[in-house]
């Protein structure tokens, strides 16, 4: 019998709560988290225990880590594993939650968001510049820039999506419902713009077309992945 197994994460920015609930259900069946993996968690077979899980995001200096983990330990939360700035803890039910007020939960999301903000903004800026380059250049240079632009977009769009979701989580905790709704509408907005570009431009070699296809792809692909993943979880997820 296997002693380790892997479960997929819905992405902490997108489904932190669901992930933590899932880890608890696995623990009840004797499968406990050992580590983060690329797309999820590595579980190990042990004794069935009702553990609750929580995750915190924080960049720690070397001389801060001991104190930080001691806070959790003395409150009944044992440290499971960390990956970069993401720290996973578990406790027995009934232990006080790691966050006890709304203001600090807002800061939790803000920490995570601001750690990615500058990277994302620079990535978007460079991507936009390269796209601009494809519009004004010709020949081989255009082809090269075009490829670069496509690759950059493939990275930039999911990154932007993640950061927006993190800020969306933050705004939801703060009670800013309007902003939250706006974020949900964004994919449709993008899709709309892309379709308009497709309808307006009929020169098929135009770089705008590539851009439009990219946007459509970027919106539809995650949606398809999401549908497949939820189907997968519905079919196989509960049968541990």
């Amino acid at each position: 019998m296997r002693n380790t197994k892997y479960v997929m994460s819905g992405g902490l920015a997108f489904s932190e709560g669901k992930d933590m609930d899932k880890l608890r259900r696995f623990s009840l069946k004797g499968w406990h988290v050992r580590d983060f993996t690329l797309m999820g968690y590595k579980l190990e077979k042990g004794i069935s225990t009702d553990y609750i899980y929580s995750v915190d995001y924080r960049s720690l200096e070397e001389n801060e880590a001991e104190e930080y983990f001691d806070f959790f330990n003395s409150a009944g939360w044992s440290h499971v594993t960390s990956e970069g700035n993401i720290h996973l803890f578990r406790a027995l039910p009934g232990i006080r939650p790691i966050y006890s007020d709304r203001e600090t939960v807002v800061e939790k999301h803000d920490n995570l968001g601001s750690s990615m903000k500058w990277f994302t903004l620079s990535l978007l800026f460079i991507t936009a510049l390269v796209w601009l380059g494809t519009f004004i250049s010709t020949g081989l240079l255009q082809t090269i820039l075009n490829i670069a632009a496509v690759i950059l977009s493939v990275i930039a769009v999911p990154t932007l999506w993640t950061v927006l979701t993190i800020y969306n989580n933050k705004w939801r905790v703060e009670g800013k419902k309007g902003l939250s709704k706006l974020i949900k509408l964004l994919p449709f907005l993008f899709l709309g713009i892309a379709i308009i570009i497709l309808l307006v431009i009929d020169d098929s070699s135009n770089a705008f077309l590539t851009l439009a296809y990219m946007i459509i792809g970027a919106v539809i692909l995650p949606t398809v992945i999401w549908i497949i993943m939820s189907l997968y979880h519905r079919l196989f997820g509960e049968k541990v």
Binding site: N63, D70, F72, A75, I98
Partner: protein, 105 residues
Amino acid sequence: MKTTEQLTDSMFYIMAALTKPRHGYAIMNLIEERTKGAITIGPASMYTIIKKLLKQDWIYLYDGSDPRRKTYLLTQKGKEVLEADVKLRKLMIDLAEMGLKEAEE
């Protein structure tokens, strides 16, 4: 309105516990004991607020010799902020108590 922002409840509790040098665990326990368990502070909230208070210069690192159990203490500025906030909160309580009394009459 006053120029200083009102402290959040958690900041208020933690500052109230730092009138004497205490480490994180002691702060959590003290708050829980003195409020008979009505108020608890989670470790992540606690850590976030300690960092924030340090940045504001309202508390300072009193003893860092044990890296696991660093102790903190209110600064003079922190004490003033806490005192001002206590005054404001007293007014809030008075306001509500007067209101409730009125309702009984």
